[in-house]
């Protein structure tokens, strides 16, 4: 039982990392970012390429992926998303388009394939990233065998969640972000540069997705279309938890990850998926604003 719960915890961690970025961009900016999953995918490819071309291991790939996907998110906000604030459906379509572009860019090796050039690590096929030796061991805690890589995923997630919480609730940037969530006009009237703050927020959210991608690269194969399902999972977590609530996102990721693990191991993978969807539908039916919706006068 304990080992199943532990596997659930590591699934929850990945879900949470994907959802954290979405919670910030969707909650703060009202953007449905369909390309968020592609940031996960690109983060995984950063791990693949860093391993092949730089000989860097997964640990080094984490900050690298954060910077690459963060910068890409920043550029995306500046060039496309910025022009679409307040137009929810248009952001959905535009970011979906970006998602397809990014997938194809990896599949076609940035177009080099047309010139007969091949970049090792890119392309339509599956890629794998080796996990450093010290993360492959099993650890025995209280008579339970724990996979160190899963433990590592949980630890990274805890650190990043605490960091995100700290930025949101204990820094000037976080205060700006939260003010914009509640009342963008008043935020601007108080001297907050709403556009600049949104760019930075979007970049941070994308960077978190990139880190999730690196961690995923350690236990499953990497492919150009791996992000498509991640964005759906991410949104399920955000909506179940309650839009704009960090605590809700954490709780929802924990609950959905554990349900997935418990049913998937007791029955099979497909039942696990169905159980998660069932819970999400029930939550939305019974508490449309999510488990931890914001209350106020």
């Amino acid at each position: 039982m304990f080992d199943i719960l532990f596997i659930g915890l590591s699934l929850s961690s990945i879900l949470l990392l994907v959802a954290l970025g979405l919670a910030v961009t969707y909650g703060a900016m009202g953007i449905i970012n369909m390309a968020h999953g592609e940031m996960v995918m690109l983060g995984a490819y950063v791990a693949v390429l860093a391993n092949i071309w730089l000989g860097a291991n997964l640990l080094l790939a984490i900050p690298l992926a954060f910077v690459v996907t963060g910068a890409l998110g920043y550029a995306m906000e500046r060039m496309v998303v910025r022009r679409l604030y307040g137009r929810l459906l248009d952001t959905l379509l535009a970011t979906w388009g970006i998602a397809i572009l990014l997938q194809q860019a990896i599949r076609l090796e940035f177009g080099l394939v047309f010139f007969g050039l091949h970049v090792e690590g890119l392309g339509a096929g599956l890629q794998n990233v080796p996990v450093p030796g010290f993360l492959q061991a099993t650890l025995t805690v209280f008579g339970q065998e724990l996979n160190t890589y899963r433990l590592f995923i949980v630890a990274v997630t805890v650190v990043l969640t605490v960091l995100t919480w700290h930025v949101l609730y204990r820094t000037a940037l976080g205060m700006k972000v939260r003010a914009i969530i509640r009342n963008p006009q008043m935020a601007a009237a108080c001297g907050i540069d709403v556009r600049q703050t949104n760019s930075i927020t979007f970049a941070l959210g994308s960077g978190l997705a990139g880190v999730a991608g690196v961690l995923m690269a350690g236990f499953r194969s990497v492919s150009p279309d791996m992000g498509a399902t991640m964005v759906v999972d991410g949104f399920m977590v955000v909506v179940t938890g309650g839009v704009g609530s960090l605590l809700g996102t954490v709780a929802a990721a924990g609950i959905l990850g554990e349900i997935n693990a418990l049913t998937a191991i007791t029955f099979n993978e497909i039942t696990g998926r169905a159980a998660v969807l069932l819970v999400v539908i029930l939550v939305i039916l019974l508490k449309p604003a999510g488990l931890f919706s914001f209350k106020g006068r």
Partner: protein
């Protein structure tokens, strides 16, 4: 001094201001009056840069700010206390006040010292969520937030609307002190003619999105009030 020339402000495609010209003298209170829907709130929002497709020019102490985005206008020294107060309900009182400091030109983000004396209730309850305060307390909080920016100009939109009489007196006293003691320029949208006569030095009456009449407050006769304010 705040001057507006041929100001037009829109919400989407509907125009709410048509060619407003107005001069707000420095360090004094200018009262804006008019029936509902004549563009008083839109005027304040347009000064703050919160309306769409604004045309015309706004200058603050000779500097043209018409093209500046809202946050730059705030940082140029204009603070806004909106109708409905715009308090962030899940921010504490302290956070709500400090939020105003993002526009402070000295870069200082803190609760101003003079607040203890102006709003003793707020300074005693800095850690309460803003959403739990009464309407009058929220109004005081909105004014405190504006003052945290250490502005030159404060735009007040019906600060006494829907507030219990005992608090109204407090707020009126603070508004008077803002101009007489702190030397702030105040643009005050107000329906209460009695308070406006006591506080303001000049007035402007709005009708159908334009300024119908302006003058010194001594010249605001009952006849003028009847013509523009009675329904």
């Amino acid at each position: 001094m705040l001057t507006m020339t041929n100001l037009e402000g829109c919400y989407g495609r509907s125009r709410a201001l048509t060619g407003v010209c107005l001069t707000v003298p420095k360090g004094q209170i200018t009262g804006i009056m008019g029936r509902n829907g004549t563009g008083k709130t839109t005027l304040l929002k347009t000064i703050m840069g919160l309306t769409d497709n604004t045309q015309g020019t706004i200058t603050l102490d000779g500097k043209d700010i018409s093209a500046a985005p809202s946050h730059m206008r705030a940082r140029a020294g204009i603070a806004y206390v909106p109708q409905g107060r715009g308090i962030i309900p899940d921010f504490t009182v302290r956070e709500n006040i400090v939020m105003g400091g993002f526009a402070n030109r000295s870069g200082r983000r803190a609760v101003p010292e003079k607040l203890a004396e102006l709003f003793p209730y707020l300074t005693a309850n800095l850690d309460r969520p803003g959403g739990l305060l009464s309407g009058g307390q929220q109004q005081q909080l909105a004014i405190a937030r504006a003052l945290a920016a250490e502005p030159d100009v404060v735009l007040l939109d019906e600060p006494n609307e829907g507030i219990q009489p005992s608090v109204v007196e407090d707020i009126e006293r603070v508004i008077l002190r803002m101009s007489r003691e702190f030397g702030l320029t105040v643009v005050l949208v107000e329906q209460n003619i009695g308070f406006l006569r006591r506080a303001a030095s000049t007035f402007a009456i709005m009708e159908k999105g334009r300024v119908a009449q302006t003058g010194r407050v001594e010249d605001l006769t009952d006849a003028i009030v009847d013509r523009h304010m009675t329904i």
